[in-house]
């Protein structure tokens, strides 16, 4: 059996272009890809008959010598009709998709996304109830009730109350006053800790300043001021 070279190449190109288009997310391109792919397959079938010859028979000479193979022609007719019908259906469906969702692309499955999201939430919730520990105390992302107050800024509930108070304050001055009062009360209670921490911070800052030697006098002043504040307290 011999095949026309050009047709074989054409078939290959149809297949390649069809597969390329079908990999797109846009539905019209997928449709075009399917049409090319289907025609490629049909061309493949008709090529299996080998080189065509004319005419099939003149009605008198009934010998099958030199006749082209009729079976692929019967097969391809069926295949063409099927491809045609399915293309029409696909086109209608794509149009419907456009009417409903205004999108000519493949949509994600909500249920799939939901499963993915649910898992994340579940694992977080599990971590907070079962595994949350005292390592971060009340500073943990979702602390347990009665966690140790590690940095002396009150329990989460207290912090929330303060935040609410500040928010509720009628004017900015009053809000500042509240915030200041809170800071004072906390520093009073734990002055020793605070002072030490502040001093350390100052030392570290000064060291860096000396190294870099680009800081202005002003910056040093602020650092000094911070240190003083800590000492005073």
């Amino acid at each position: 059996m011999s095949m026309p070279f050009v047709m074989v190449v054409a078939m290959g190109v149809l297949f390649a272009a069809g597969i390329y288009l079908m990999l797109e997310r846009s539905l019209t391109r997928v449709l075009l890809g399917f049409i090319l792919l289907g025609n490629g397959a049909n061309l493949l079938i008709i090529l299996t008959a080998g080189r065509g010859s004319v005419p099939l028979t003149d009605g008198k000479n009934l010998s099958t010598e030199g006749m082209s193979d009729p079976l692929p022609q019967a097969l391809i007719l069926t295949a063409i009709v099927i491809t045609f019908a399915v293309t029409a259906f696909l086109l209608a469906m794509i149009y419907r998709s456009w009417r409903l969702m205004r999108a000519d692309s493949l949509q994600d499955d909500d249920a799939d996304l939901q499963v993915a999201i649910t898992k994340v939430i579940d694992s977080e919730a599990e971590a907070s109830t079962d595994y949350d520990d005292t390592e971060f105390g009340d500073e943990a992302e979702s602390p347990i009730r009665g966690a140790v107050d590690l940095d002396d800024d009150g329990t989460p509930d207290e912090r929330e109350e303060i935040a609410a108070e500040i928010d509720d304050a009628p004017n900015p001055a009053q809000a500042d006053a509240i915030a200041e009062a809170v800071v004072d009360s906390q520093t009073d209670a734990h002055s020793a800790n605070e002072a030490e921490a502040a001093e350390e911070a100052t030392d570290a800052k000064e060291a860096t300043d000396a190294d870099v030697a680009t800081d202005t006098e002003e910056a040093k002043d602020t650092n000094d001021a911070k240190g003083t504040k800590g000492d005073d307290a």
Partner: protein, 526 residues
């Protein structure tokens, strides 16, 4: 009776097609449509029964369509495997039809235009029957296309946004599988000069090994997508659950099994000295495990069961890949079992959806108390699926494992372990679903459904007061009857396991001797 058989064999294809035409004409008279559809499927079931016994007694029957003798003409061949598949599929399609029609009659949402449903459903039945009876590779393709095109219509019934989204994926994937199949047919014809399966059986073994391999892989790819074998299975859990419940039931029960049937047929008839045994075994193992792991992650019952469907395809492929007589018998028995059990599960889930308003385990609860009948109809096939003795799932799995042990090789042994693990995980998934949807107090769930909560509370009050509660099923009786018939059929698979297993063994023997098939089809020529 033997004279009658050749007349009967084309009827399972012909009658539904004629029925489709009639119901299309009668599209304005719903009742007449329904009567015609049910009568035709009933007739197909009777015919399938006669064909099964006839074929079992007298051997495979060959019918040359239109009097054109093979190999030029198209032939329909009914052997034991075809007849077994035919009878199970006709039972399933009939029950699902009754279920669907009574659901439509009681459904006021108007989402499913009945006038389209009946004709496309009948074309689907004709396509499935044609695939089972085809003795010709191209006719098999035509059968595939018939039921596929009908399934496109059924899956997108009502054309809601969600169904269109799922339908687009399904249609495109199916088209790709069809084009691969068609290409394979083209190349096979180019290589051998025939598409008649009996002739192919003789000629393919003469081809060079590499050409054989290309043909084999192409066909397996085409069928593998349809049968949802990993890694070609991703589309299934995405597209099936959105369809109407009866449609999902018949798709899950039958369409994937047509793919498995085609694989069994080509593996035994065309590629009997197959060299793809190892890849197939590996694919079978991965299908089982990946499928069931997917099911664990889901919270929607329909999606859970769709994933178990993918997973259990692995068992059938395992039996086919073994290629031994016991392996094939086990695969055939397991296929029959799985068609019925999977359909029963999806029908039961449809009832659950109707009763509880959802299929999500996040909003269902208390169904055990509210509707004991429904619970039984879900629970029996669910246990059956996970392979609890004495159900048919257990028998099928034991047979598969025995066939695996017979092989005395390490890969089948690994697969047996994977199969046992999958079975346990299925039990876990089913157990969890049952706990969540049937056992919990509906007030405890994540997204409580007010109706269920109220009903449950009322029920509790009556119980505590010592009064009698009149249990309401809350779904149309015809749907319950249809589901019960399938559930009972799944139990019959256990009760009648011996004759059925005998039939499966004889069918496998048929498959093991492709030469008999060839001489049956081609007559004196070979």
């Amino acid at each position: 009776m033997i004279d009658l058989l050749p007349v009967l064999i084309p009827l399972p294809v012909l009658l539904p097609l004629i029925g489709a035409g009639i119901t299309l004409v009668l599209s304005k008279y719903t009742k007449a449509q329904n009567v015609v559809s049910i009568a035709i499927l009933l007739a197909v079931m009777v015919i399938a029964t006669v064909v099964l016994f006839g074929v079992d007694a007298h051997g495979p029957q060959v019918v040359a369509i239109g009097g054109w003798e093979p190999p030029a003409g198209i032939v329909l061949v009914a052997d034991r495997l075809s007849a077994l598949m035919l009878i199970v599929s006709s039972l399933v399609t009939l029950c699902v039809l009754v279920y669907a029609l009574s659901q439509d009659a009681n459904d006021d949402s108007n989402e499913t235009p009945i006038s389209v449903f009946n004709p496309s459903y009948l074309v689907l039945c004709a396509g499935i029957a044609n695939s089972f009876l085809a003795g010709d590779l191209f006719n098999l393709y035509v059968g595939f296309e018939m039921f596929l095109v009908a399934s496109y219509v059924l899956l997108t019934l009502g054309a809601t946004a969600e169904r269109i989204r799922a339908g687009v994926t399904y249609v495109i994937i199916s088209l790709v599988s069809s084009v691969i199949f068609l290409t394979a047919i083209g190349i096979i014809y180019a290589a051998t000069g025939t598409v008649n399966m009996a002739q192919l059986s003789e000629r393919i073994s003469d081809l060079p090994a590499d050409v054989q391999m290309i043909l084999h892989v192409l066909l397996l790819l085409g069928f593998g997508i349809k049968a949802a074998i990993f890694p070609l299975s991703f589309w299934l859990p995405d597209s099936y659950p959105t369809a109407p419940a009866p449609v999902t039931a018949v798709f899950a029960g039958l369409l994937t099994k047509v793919g498995i049937y085609a694989i069994i047929r080509t593996e035994t008839l065309l590629f009997a000295d197959s060299s793809l045994r190892v890849p197939l075994l590996i694919a079978a193992g991965l299908t089982m495990l990946v499928g069931i792991l997917g099911a664990i992650a889901q919270s929607e019952i329909k999606r859970i069961v769709s994933f178990t469907l993918v997973s259990h395809i692995g068992y059938m492929l395992f039996g086919v890949a073994l290629g031994t007589s016991v392996g094939l018998s086990a695969a055939i028995y397991y296929t029959l079992h799985h068609i019925i059990v999977q359909t029963a599960l999806f029908l039961a889930i449809g009832l659950v959806e109707m009763r509880g308003g959802s299929t999500s385990t996040r909003s269902l609860g208390g169904l055990m108390v509210l509707s004991p009948v429904l619970t039984i109809m879900f629970f029996v096939p669910a246990l059956n699926l996970s392979g609890i003795p004495p159900f048919s799932g257990f028998i099928g799995k034991v047979a598969l494992f025995l066939a695996g042990f017979d092989d005395h090789a390490w890969l089948p042994t690994v697969l047996i372990v994977a199969g046992a693990l999958t079975s346990l995980l299925t039990l876990y998934v089913i157990g969890r679903t049952f706990n969540l949807a049937f056992w919990r107090d509906p007030a405890d769930v994540e997204e409580p459904n007010a109706d269920l909560v109220d009903e449950f509370a009322e029920r509790k009050k009556t119980l505590l007061a010592g009064k009698k509660w009149k249990s309401q099923i809350g779904v149309p009786p015809a749907m319950v009857v249809a589901t019960s018939v399938i559930v009972i059929a799944s139990i019959v698979l256990t009760v009648a396991a011996e004759p059925l297993w005998g039939m499966a063994e004889r069918a496998a023997e048929n498959l093991q001797t492709p030469l008999d098939y060839v001489s049956n089809v081609l007559g004196d020529e070979s």
